[in-house]
Symmetry: C2
Subunit: 514 residues, 2 copies
């Protein structure tokens, strides 16, 4: 992997000067086009050995390009707000918007490599990380991003020389610390781990570019030229490049499915409802104050046809919680800032801190429900969304976030009755819109979408609970009970398979990386 | 202030039930109107004594209203990201967008009251905080917000009873901790401090509503009704309510002003430029790594006519910094999310952490420059902006952020020459727009606006540096030198008057509140 970066590449002073002027002009041109079209975010990862010129290269890029449309993201010690979210949260919040260049000095590669060198994780775990990264980067590329990953390489002798040179120059001596010299001792280990990890993450959609770090001019020019060419090609390509997706197939030849099998006649009379409600709300209120919740967080996802009773159910949950502890996130059309980011970005940004609850009224499943049925996104987009969503929820579960998902199912007759009833009651009138009526017409298409969704995204980590919701009493109690039982199981380490994985490494999740 | 909240208000069960149904319907209606018009953010502060029903009331509001359009913000211990910014940052980032209701459980009142009770600040300092808060709330109201401040009051005996009652009910016992009982001991002190502070902040635009906290039904109904009425009235009022502003007057009878007095012929030849540039960049590079910078941050503000050389100057600063340490923030039209917030919100969100630098390419002065001259905002808006901006910069300076502001002045002839030159050079072509040409036509109006700006916002904390920018060499060196000298003065505690204030309380700024 590193051989071609050990052959002593060099660029002379004059050749460099002659090359820089047109390169700079072209880079600014490409950046202006990027900014104008506002379609492509450019993600540049600068990584490699200490002393190989990472900081210098970033500074050169700033010199050549328009710094107003670049951001450099440095990731050292995580802040406490970051530590209380899944590890990828800090990278999601730093993603460049469409039209901008985001340079990552340190990235999602840093931790796995460091942890493997420190023998904190096994090679098998490292490979699992590689897989996760590959899927993440594929998602970025499918969402339109240009992903460029640079690795600056030095031979062991080269690194020693670079560090010495940096140290002897008063202008750069500050860059070299004892920590850097210590890294030299682990050179061979880094080579081994990085070599393996780079190979595992060397995908067609986001390949590594290994650059020899010895000669400043060679390194700068190489990065600049590659960045330029990649931007130009990406800007010029008219067709959206996407991972292939299999067509959707359905196996309900007999017409039976998770929805048809529901008994929508299930009911709960008012009297038992009152006592059941009080019982489960009391239980939930206790669970939310359980000391074990202090290092966890809860994400509730509510989906259901219009008038299925999502709002009422959410209220009954909220009533058992302290208002200061939870947020209801109504999901409507994305804002301008959200549209400039990958689809899941607007859900990542609302992830709760430890001890907190986020209740989503409609969710990231919009893509495989309304967007699919109404044709708001391309077929490819919703077809690949199933795995992207599973990955998202997997990352949440893996970091201790409990994801509890409800589909509230009502019959067409019940929906119609509720629409009519709502129009009579003054204080609910605001809930009925033209759209609600229109959506009814696509009932069958929605039922298919729901079945596909449940089939493809009900995972051990984050199972769907389909709720018979024709009777509001019954639905609310089932939701509260499910939620309580899930929290209990999670607290007692019984929820599989996340529980298994976690219980193998007790205390691991709470560990802080400083 | 509290007398009317000690007369034993009570509402009977039936009266309560009869009142709640129509109240709830009307609240939902008002909320729907609010959400539809998307013009008014509603800021509700819930404060008062422990045990007076703050949490309960918030929960009741959630029961009555649509929780999708409410957020409750609880402010306990500040996160490290918050501690590294001015104290008001955490409140700015939590402000509700237009159309939403934001309930503040704990607010900008909590710290001053707590600090005064703990004798950490003097009464004089408390009054200074009151003044600051009054101005902040006036800004919110002028920006269209409805600000409602509730204080829940109990007599000493009443508080003791409430705490006992809460403690003896297993469902609420968790709410009462030793901390609450300790607060009972400081009842008289709290009464004194809060009484004073509430009176000082009882403004016509954001008056306090003191509510007796003893009876749950009375308290809930009172808050609900007041919230409803205030929302309805605010929604119904067609004219924008604003603080009065004095008309703009100018005192340059002789035609001389800070711009006319500039010597735009100042020049620096290339040879001395190279060495001066290297000298100051080197100095800046050292200052940015100075250990004293680790507890400070730097905000550079760049304003100037088109083609005045802002970009080039920013590059020269950037070249002396580590790219991982600074961000350039290009200020263009606000995004949708930014338009839903007070004007200054989009600048607050970019404030740097400790040890970091934010360079604004165009700034919050847009309001008193382009928005004023082009008529993009009402006269009142830009007339009140001067003080709002001074308050903003004052808060920054007060918390250790160094604010360095540059106006780059060029002559009309020089601007024309640069426009023409730019059109010749390929890699700069993207910088010239139709607008640039159009702005030239309003030259005189802009010169007036600039003079007013400098006159009204060049403060001891954040002075303007007007830069003679016809010669780029001269301008860049002057900017770098000014910046270095300012950083040095700040580090040595010589920059007045912020320095004075800070040096009086050594170590105070770094103090954390946990």
């Amino acid at each position: 992997m590193f051989e071609s970066a050990e052959i002593g590449h060099k660029i002379g002073k004059t050749a460099y000067r002659d090359a820089v002027a047109p390169l700079r002009a072209a880079l600014l041109e490409a950046q202006a086009d990027l900014q104008e079209s506002k379609k492509i975010p450019v993600v540049v990862l600068i990584s490699g050995q200490d002393g190989a010129g990472k900081g210098e290269t970033i500074n050169v890029l700033y010199e050549w390009m328009d710094p107003r449309f670049i951001s450099t993201l440095a990731f050292s010690q995580a802040s406490d707000e970051e530590r209380e979210r899944p590890p990828m949260w800090r990278y999601w919040r730093s993603l460049p918007a469409k039209g901008r260049v985001g340079i990552f000095a340190g990235s999602w590669y840093s931790d796995p490599i460091r942890q493997r060198i420190g023998a904190e994780i096994s090679f098998k775990e490292l490979d699992a990380r590689a897989d996760q990264i590959n899927r993440f980067e594929a998602m970025l590329v499918n969402e339109g991003a240009l992903v460029l990953k640079f690795w600056f390489h030095l031979t062991k002798e080269g690194q020693r020389k670079r560090l010495k040179a940096l140290e002897s120059d008063p202008r750069t001596a500050w860059r070299v610390t004892k920590w850097n010299w210590d890294r030299l001792k682990t050179y061979d280990q880094l080579q081994e781990v990085a070599g393996h990890f780079l190979r595992m993450t060397n995908t067609p959609w986001a390949p590594w570019v290994v650059v020899e770090g010895t000669d400043d001019r060679y390194r700068s020019l190489t990065v600049g030229k590659i960045l330029l060419e990649a931007m130009q090609k990406k800007l010029a390509s008219t067709d959206k490049q996407e991972s292939p997706v299999a067509p959707m197939v359905r196996v309900d030849t007999d017409g039976r499915n998770v929805l048809s099998e529901l008994n929508l006649k299930l009911k709960l009379a008012d009297k038992p409802y009152e006592s059941e409600l009080a019982k489960w709300q009391g239980r939930l209120s206790e669970l939310a104050r359980d000391p074990r919740f202090k290092a966890r967080s809860l994400v509730c996802a509510f989906e259901g046809a219009d008038a299925a009773g999502k709002g009422g159910a959410i209220r009954r949950i909220g009533a058992a919680l302290d208002a200061r502890q939870y947020q209801v996130i109504p999901v409507a059309a994305p804002t301008e800032e959200e549209r400039a980011q990958p689809y899941l970005w607007r859900f990542w940004r609302h992830l709760p801190r430890h001890g907190r609850v986020a209740i989503f009224d409609r969710t990231w499943y919009g893509r495989v429900l309304v967007e699919r049925v109404e044709g708001f996104c391309a077929e490819n987009d919703w077809l690949r969304a199933y795995t992207e969503i599973n990955d998202f929820e997997h990352e949440l579960a893996d970091s201790g976030v409990m994801v509890v998902k409800f589909w509230l199912q009502i019959s067409q007759e019940e929906q119609l009755a509720r629409f009519k009833a709502r129009e009579q009651v003054a204080f609910k009138r605001f809930k009925i819109t033209q759209e609600d009526w229109r959506n009814r017409e696509k009932w069958v298409a929605y039922q298919h979408a729901i079945c596909d969704m449940v089939e493809r995204t009900s995972t051990g980590n984050a199972p769907w609970t389909v709720v018979e919701a024709n009777d509001k009493n019954y639905a609310r109690v089932k939701i509260l009970r499910t939620l309580c039982e899930r929290l209990e199981a999670e607290f007692e380490g019984k929820h599989a398979p996340g529980a298994e994985r976690r219980s193998k490494k007790p205390g691991k999740r709470g560990k802080k990386r400083d």
